[in-house]
Amino acid sequence: MKKQPTKKKTILVVEDERALLNVVNDKLEKSGFNVISARSVDEVFSGATNKEDLGGLSIRTIYKALDYLDDLRDIDAIWLDHNLLGKENGVDLVIKLRANGKQWQKIPIFVISNTENPETIQSYLDLGKSKYYVKSNHRLDEIIDDINLFLDDANNKS
């Protein structure tokens, strides 16, 4: 059994496939995370409703993600899919985050994507503290365990 951390870690999940997102949210919550999300404009819920009423909130477009990040100061990690709704992808999100001041430069980003393209993977790695998982090579539980280990380890070092 994993020890419960003294303070719940908060993870932001950005994934365009709703059914997958729901399962990832559930699994992360069961694993002890506070999961944050927001729906894109085509979703029914407003941002405010999301935060109060929904255990998990998901972000399906970049702009929605950036909106929420401005409000959120306590994110410990980001779960990011590469292909998202809209024209922009995960790389665009990371570039914008990194440009948005120091607080975002330290947050570990776990990119979980179907894309095996070496150039895409390299662009994430070039952008700093990111880890890349090809979806087809890992089960979801395996990735979540890995994220937990990574964060616990980072915690012990600091």
Binding site: L21, V23, D26, E43, D53, G55, G56, L57, K135, S136
Partner: protein, 134 residues
């Protein structure tokens, strides 16, 4: 409570990225929520993890040693909880032997890609699932 959707969820197993984007868009237009996988094992993993999946769009040729036939063989194995799950094979690999094997293993329908438009297939799947429910 979490975000919910009344859309049916379909698992799309296809490895060619440009094709994935197009098929995904057609399926969304037809009213589906789509989850994509590019290998057989990833697809089987999602079947385990994502209970919402109601149907599968399956390509025949995929990366690695396994083909769509391996997926079906596992999914429809005796005693499997997915014996009744509707699976639609969409492929150009319409050798008679393959086609017969798919149907024998319990595939709902086999579409030859070149003979149908992708939106037509998407709508056809939707209609099939809706009629099953009635």
């Amino acid at each position: 409570m979490k975000p919910t959707s009344t859309n049916r969820t379909i698992l799309l197993i296809e490895d060619e990225r440009p094709l994935v984007s197009v098929i995904k868009a057609k399926l969304i237009n037809a009213g589906f929520d789509v989850v994509t996988a590019r290998t057989i094992d990833q697809g089987l993993g999602y079947m385990e993890d994502i209970e919402a999946i109601e149907a599968v769009w399956l390509d025949h040729y995929l990366p690695g040693n396994k083909t769509g036939l391996d997926f079906i063989a596992t999914l429809k194995a005796p005693g499997s909880k997915w014996v009744n799950a509707p699976v639609f094979v969409v492929s150009n690999t319409a050798s008679d032997a393959n086609l017969r094997t798919y149907l024998r293993l319990g595939v709902t329908k086999y579409f030859v890609k070149a003979e149908h438009r992708l939106d037509e297939i998407s709508n056809d799947i939707k209609t099939f699932l809706d009629s099953e429910q009635e």
